[in-house]
């Protein structure tokens, strides 16, 4: 098939964009192992959408294409552009603009027959080879727009009449849209709205901003719809390691967002495993919304109780008790900020002074291993550790020993 700039399905380009942006070291040959034909087209599309950010490097294994973006300097998420690339037919776009021109005011209410007639008589007549839209095509498009909330349909006598819904002036929303289109959940919807406002301001910038979340926007949107209606979903989920796609029936309960590790999760009840589990949004490739579940309230409540002992997203360890985590850190003179750091980052834990120069952190959690990266950030002042999970404690200490060796600290190298 000939190359087109627009695409029908977001899923394939989603993978490429993520690889180009997050990893950026793969050569063309490595992508071809996955899909021999598509690399050149996908790379060309990404270059067309994000040319300013595209970079290349020649290596022994070939030319690497990657996206080089400092999200702190990009006031609008560049990856949103890919979500504005949906393809359409010649008829779709022609009909779209003509329909809204015919139904140009909420006061204009017309039947399908009247609209179809006007399309021919007032719009297409002036072209050399006018398109032909039969009633069924026009009806289908009107129905689609009613479902999207753009049009209303009302029965008048035996006939359905169509009118456009009122427009809204969002001029006063510019600042809010600029902020929430980046910092809000599914911010791409705000970006769609900004496209209509001609704002162009750069009054906000964002630090610690994971722009890859853009690539999960559609999946997240479907999950949020399901949560708001308490509906079960069927998700397709894969893992990069195995490349296996699994299908799960899940009752989605809550979205867990990380602003430190670049991942977001669905926490939901798995009907096959009979437990609440986490599913990474970037591993979900499809969501089908199903029936309403009467168990939503009960299971959401259960999750809330579990959150009291969740450091991250791990929330279940059947038949095993909670794990106790305790460590102390040295706080020097004029280092009260260390206590404040512990206090503001403690999540479900507690922090206390045990003497003038020592603070103790304690928590009882489902999974100690989730806490390890955070505890390592206190390396240089950890004085004691007491984990009920001794395996993890020993691994932590061994890792520190390995770091001494790695950096030649203490003469071991």
């Amino acid at each position: 098939m000939a190359y087109t700039e627009l695409i029908k399905n977001f899923e394939r380009i989603r993978d490429y964009m993520r690889d180009f942006y997050v990893y950026g070291f793969k050569s063309r040959n490595e992508y071809e192992k996955k899909s021999a034909r598509s690399y050149d087209n996908e790379r060309r599309r990404i270059e067309s959408y994000l040319g300013d950010y595209m970079a290349f490097r020649q290596t022994q294994n070939g030319k690497n294409a990657f996206l080089s973006i400092d999200s702190r300097n990009a006031v609008h998420n560049p990856l949103y552009k890919a979500l504005k690339s949906k393809g359409f037919t010649d008829g779709d776009i022609t009909l779209h603009f003509i329909l809204f021109d015919i139904l140009n005011s909420p006061d204009t209410a017309l039947t399908l027959n009247e609209i179809t007639h006007m399309i021919d008589a007032e719009y297409l007549y002036c072209f050399k080879n006018p398109m032909i839209f039969d009633e069924s095509t026009v009806r289908k498009k009107l129905k689609e727009y009613v479902e999207l909330g753009l049009l209303s349909s009302n029965k008048q006598g035996k006939q359905m009449v169509y009118s456009r819904n009122s427009s809204t002036d969002l001029a006063s929303w510019n600042d809010a849209l600029e902020f929430f289109s980046e910092a809000g959940l599914d911010g791409v919807i705000g970006s769609f709205l900004l496209d209509k406002t001609d704002s162009g301001h750069e009054h906000f910038s964002f630090k610690h901003h994971y722009i890859t979340y853009a690539l999960e926007s559609e999946i997240l949107c479907e999950l949020l719809k399901a949560i708001s209606e308490k509906r079960i979903v069927t998700i397709k989920n894969y893992t990069r390691k195995s490349d296996n796609v699994k299908i799960w029936d899940v009752l989605p309960l809550k979205i867990f967002v990380s602003v430190q590790n670049g991942r977001r999760y669905l926490l939901g009840y798995s009907f096959s495993l009979h437990e609440i589990k986490s599913y990474r949004l970037d591993f979900i490739t499809d969501v089908k919304i199903g029936d309403i579940s009467p168990r939503f309230g009960e299971l959401r409540e259960k999750l809330s109780e579990m959150q009291e002992h969740m450091w991250g997203v791990y929330c279940n360890k059947r038949y095993v008790s909670l794990e106790h985590v305790e460590f102390t850190v040295h706080v020097g003179d004029n280092e009260e900020h260390i206590y404040h750091r512990l206090d503001r980052e403690k999540r479900c834990g507690t922090v206390e002074w045990i003497d003038k120069h020592t603070c103790r952190f304690m928590a009882d959690v489902y999974d100690t291993s989730e806490m390890i990266p955070w505890i390592r950030t206190f390396i240089c002042r950890i004085t004691t550790m007491d984990f009920s999970n001794r395996t993890i404690e020993n691994q932590f200490k061994n890792d520190i020993e390995d770091m001494y060796i790695l950096y030649g600290v203490g003469g071991e190298e």
Partner: protein
């Protein structure tokens, strides 16, 4: 569905072209410019022939359109549901917006439907009236390019008053705090909005928007071994930095990360969080910061 052509850049671009055509003043050059400004870099190859060759029957070869009105489109239900959702967010008080048109709309999500589980718990006080008032005033000053006089408390607890030109508000999702980026003041170039005690617009002054040149970023180079899923964890964790990565052997990688010098301590801490799976190799000054912490840890004699 969210991935829909009605939100796409082709529809938006064509709407702008048709708006100009409705006014009967569209030229070929203008059409190309609109496409360059609003669509993708190769879009003109598709949009121009499709319009002038009557493939999309909206414009004839003379660039006249049968449309009678400039194209407009109401909000979709998804857009309204999203707006309703953000109207429930605590940060919305920072903005002066009206929600009347959202009466009766179901929000796409509520604050109970998600949790940001690792943000710090000492975020800015978004319910505090004086914080909100300061924020509104600063945003107004940025819009109108006015100087402001700000009284604030420094990190060391000292009270200061400065005159400056604010140009941007930077939000950190991890800290859940805003920082005001300012110019024209020799003592500071950022102020935490939460530390501002009072501020006032100096009406007589209008400043040309002066955004200081970006400082040359610092960089460090690290090598990582892909054990215990380290590659994925590191690359995702540091995804928001500008970086260059290359594979140096089957299981190991070299990554160059660019960063702002002010964030160096934070980065040292973040690098330590990955344990022995990454080793910073350059520059020596950064390596020494890590070594220093390891030496201090060794002196703690953790058993």
């Amino acid at each position: 569905m969210l991935f829909n052509e009605i939100y796409g850049c082709y529809y938006n671009t064509v709407a702008k072209i048709l708006a100009s055509a409705v006014k009967r003043n569209l030229t070929a050059d203008e059409m190309k410019q609109i496409i360059c400004d609003n669509a993708f870099s190769e879009s003109f190859l598709t949009i121009i022939p499709a319009l002038v060759n009557e493939q999309w029957q909206l414009l004839n070869p003379e660039l006249h359109t049968p449309l009678k009105h400039e194209p407009t489109m109401p909000l979709t239900m998804l857009q309204k549901r999203w707006l309703k959702a953000i109207s429930l967010d605590p940060h919305i008080k920072l903005f002066t917006v009206s929600f009347d048109f959202l009466d009766g709309i179901e929000p796409l999500f509520t604050t109970g439907d998600y949790v940001v589980f690792d943000k710090y718990n000492d975020g800015d006080p978004y319910e505090d009236e004086s914080y909100i008032q300061n924020f509104h005033l600063i945003l107004d000053a940025i819009h109108t390019k006015k100087k402001v006089q700000i009284q604030y408390e420094s990190q060391k607890g000292n009270h200061r008053t400065i005159l400056c030109a604010p140009y941007q508000l930077e939000y950190s999702e991890k800290d859940d705090k805003f920082r005001l980026l300012i110019s024209g003041c020799r003592y500071a170039y950022t102020i935490n909005v939460g530390r501002i005690k009072a501020c006032e617009i100096i009406d007589e002054s209008t400043v040309e928007c002066f955004i200081p040149k970006q400082k040359n970023p610092e960089f460090f180079i690290m090598e990582l071994v892909d054990q215990r899923n380290a590659l994925e964890r590191v690359m995702l964790h540091l995804a928001h930095f500008k970086k260059e990565a290359e594979r140096i052997s089957e299981n190991s990688y070299r990554v160059k990360i660019y960063y702002d010098h002010d964030d160096e301590t934070e980065l040292v801490i973040r690098i330590l969080s990955f344990g022995p799976f990454i080793k910073v190799t350059e520059p020596e000054s950064f390596v020494n910061l890590i070594k220093e912490r390891l030496k201090m840890q060794k002196s703690c004699q953790l058993k």
